[in-house]
Subunit: 313 residues, 4 copies
């Protein structure tokens, strides 16, 4: 099979791209994400038609946040779009006349990194995506593992603190409340509030108040040596690394890949994650250690991964 299309459905934009067998993106287009479920289906179809012009494409892979069933056809539940048991595969196939595969977006990104990014050469890889929330994907024996019902690898919702922070999922103490971009901002706000004298750089980058702190301010301030910003990254890393140690006890992969916006900071965040991972890895002296690698494809991992999954059929 030659060219396929990957579609990445984000909260504000839908991106579609033509991808070849090497994972290279030959053409892309973006459209705003409509408000209604049906509107999104139309927008996907439009984007696919637009981007495929002039290319001979054979299949479409769609990455969407939420639960996708084991047939990779139906979105059982999406947190951002009002899809409930939405037969997305059928609807898009009818509109574009190509075979469609639907995949959870973090699974698609994990597959992209495994095939064309940091995971190349590994058979058993766990990817985590530290974005606004925390998602991930599981590759075991060179296959994406989706679970019996299609909803495996919901890493963000394992409970790391009993009676901990409320989560949008309805549970408490979920990992993504402690290791995610949103958590990072919370850490910085709390610390800047308690000890503003240690957050002068950080506060100067925003509107001067703890409430005005945004994610990009924390990265910039940490690079400039702001103590609160650095400490906030460390706190995030403590939780991320401890969670990876748990995943090592469970999956024992040869590599972890850390992606998502937070990972764009590279070793600023990866080094403390590695340190925390080693600190909490059980039996660390008796076992080979998995590598903790930075993702390589950035925001394109999901699109490229979805396209490749469509190619595999």
């Amino acid at each position: 099979m030659g060219l396929t299309i990957g579609v990445d459905i984000g909260g504000t934009k839908i991106a579609a791209g033509v991808v070849d067998e090497e994972g290279s993106i030959l053409a892309t287009c973006k459209v705003p994400t409509p408000d209604t479920p049906e509107g999104v289906v139309d927008a996907i179809a439009d984007a696919v038609r637009t981007v495929s012009e002039g290319f001979d494409v054979e299949a479409v892979g769609i990455g969407a946040a939420g639960y996708v069933d084991d047939k990779r056809a139906t979105v059982l539940f999406a947190p951002n779009i009002n899809w409930r048991h939405e037969a997305l595969k059928d609807k898009v196939e009818q509109r574009v006349g190509l075979p469609v595969v639907v995949e959870n977006d973090a699974n698609a990104a994990a597959w992209g990194e495994y095939r064309f990014g940091a995971g190349q050469g590994h058979d058993d890889v766990i990817c985590i995506t530290l974005g606004t929330g925390l998602g991930g994907g599981i590759i075991i024996g060179n296959k994406l593992r989706r679970g019996r019902f299609g909803v495996a690898a919901e890493f963000g919702h394992i409970r790391v603190v009993p009676d901990g922070l409320l989560c949008g999922c309805g549970s408490q103490g979920c990992w993504e409340q402690y290791a995610s971009g949103r958590a990072l901002v919370r850490y910085a706000k709390q610390r800047a509030h308690a000890t503003p004298e240690n957050a002068e750089i950080l506060l100067s980058l925003g509107d001067g108040t703890p409430e005005g702190i945004e994610g990009k301010h924390i990265s910039d301030a940490a690079r400039q040596g702001d103590p609160v910003a650095i400490d906030s990254f460390r706190e995030l890393a403590r939780w991320a690394g401890a969670g990876l140690a748990d995943l090592a006890s469970l999956f024992d992969p040869s590599a972890f890949i850390v992606g998502g916006g937070v990972s764009d900071e590279g070793d600023l965040v990866l080094d403390p994650i590695r340190k925390s991972f080693r600190r909490w890895l059980v039996g660390g002296q008796w076992r080979p250690h998995a590598q903790v690698l930075a993702a390589q494809l950035g925001g394109k991992a999901g699109l490229v991964g979805a396209a490749d999954l469509a190619r595999q059929g």
Copy 2:
């Protein structure tokens, strides 16, 4: 392949059995577990020779507590026997003249249940063994998943309480400190100490003191309605069920199998585990629920599983 031998190395006894393709045990023998690493190797070889007399056996599978490498040949670390990078496969093969496979004991038990017990008919099964500690095994796509380095499925050592109880592994807050036979006894002792008037039956079964409480007393007392015994099982179930919910978020299997001595109590412990599982299952209303099943093979699961893994080669 016809008959194989399974060997189960326990802390006090080594059991060997001849097992056929249906998982039936045709003959068994037991010997005490020697004190020295070399002594254990000899004892295994003796047991294999003894039990195989009169049978035409083709391979040997050994289940041992600890880390076993990905070649299923070397015990990297055993908690109970002083094995450190012990080339168990080679040593036993030299002595018995048969191909040998070494497997983690909880993995072997999981495989036994999957093949011949509660897991039959399922492709994706997670087994947990609530014994003195907490172990388990992962079957995905009808294969035992051992991880890249052979040490996956160490369920007992995921961290469920930050800064929690010390664990023999050197970490803190490990799941097996909260969901295991040892935890059950601790729960009962603490409660009997604080409110002896609610533990009259329980205390009467032992020596009358909280310190004298043993696991079997708790089961008996719970059946007779002892409030402390019942509450202790509930506490165990709370932690077990919440952990299964985490494993569902990660693995999304079609079934969980709960084995080990604690599970011998059947629905006394399984019903509260199921309740807690449902309470903490994330996205429970949008996804099919995994079944939570009682193991069926009891203490023989490991021996039968090891024999079958040897048959598979």
Copy 3:
């Protein structure tokens, strides 16, 4: 001194009452709580004038939620009214021409119970108020202990869960997030959501959905045997009792008094609190145990206590 006036400033209503030396209320009036800080001052003055008509009153005691300074004159911070360093004593004295004492409302309620309610005869009493939040007061050596700066006894904001639930105070894991009327409702909603079949009575009392559950439904349902309602009270009691055990380690009083709306349920909630208290009381076998008593004055404790504190001057 003869008669004094107590004023209780609530979120929706301001109550004023004429109280005699025995703690009896001779007359009362209620007015709605105005929106503006200045409006509240006016309303207090009006209520005092209205209720004192025909009585010879000598002083006014005001109970207000928030931090009150050690001179009992200034409200440093109020959570519900926009008072920030509000000189409440001076402002009301100017309007009503009587000496005024300002006190934290939970302190006032504690004093009321100590003088005329469940605490009579005790020299060292700790009161906790399980209302929407969790407050309390400290009596040691027959004196109300307000701390050096007036802000002692903020029981609701000790941290009982590291990295726990966010609190309105900006911290995390505060006791009132786990032991309060608001917590009770959260427990019931979570449980009714996860296992609606165990919450049939509870759900039938509201609008049929977990979201529609209110505090009064939980009490009624618990009395009718609803498993989720009973379990929710138990969870609240677990946290309340464990916290009392901490307070016993710190203060070693002869009695705890439990007040607030939640305590109106009497032994339904007090018995499990006592059980949990005993479970967690450190050194319980070597020390006399404090009693855990139900408050006796209900919603009038604050008004009566404030009046009596004004009498004491």
Copy 4:
């Protein structure tokens, strides 16, 4: 009253000293702590007689670890000596012919610091002693507050981690498991084990292994910049400061005094404690902040405090 004697009963030595009204020690003697309860009584009497020779002393104050009753006469329970309801006051009075006051050792030390050390000039002071464990004392309104039954101020055993570390007291998650000399050593061992490359200085001061790390090594290594030693102090400080913030919510003192062996390190440990205290202090922007002061009397605080309490009668 002129001179009194203070006695400090330690696990290995009993120290007695003649103390004047200014808190100056005029003479001291030390004897080993005998093994038997009765032997300790004899040794106390001998030490008192020996040290008082040539002085006109009027009373004896004894500081002992454990629960002391509200009459300051009977040791209800001592963790280190097998005293259970030991009538220590009577027994020593009969032997030495002087009035005797028995006090909890941490209370005595708190009183010493309040009268002659860091607490001078404060009316409301909370002392914590970070020794092997964590103890403390409460001064409110210039009086030592012992609770109704004499066992107040057991700070070490408030629960700061639900389901946390086992404590010698039988409970779990006690503060002293996280903030004490013993905790500090555990932090250092765990970290040196996980990341020995960050503990080179620390390991070089002991026997080269994590197991060989002792408290004094950690202080020395921290001063020399060893990352693991510094991080261990920070972890201790995190827990100590968060606990002080809780005590501020409860007691609202004007000062905290931090004593015990850990505090000998001065600002190395006090600065991070102050930082953590500020981080977790609830309502910090609306209230005056208590000072966090280093104890001044070192190991003599208990002896001097006991002597002064005897003087006060």
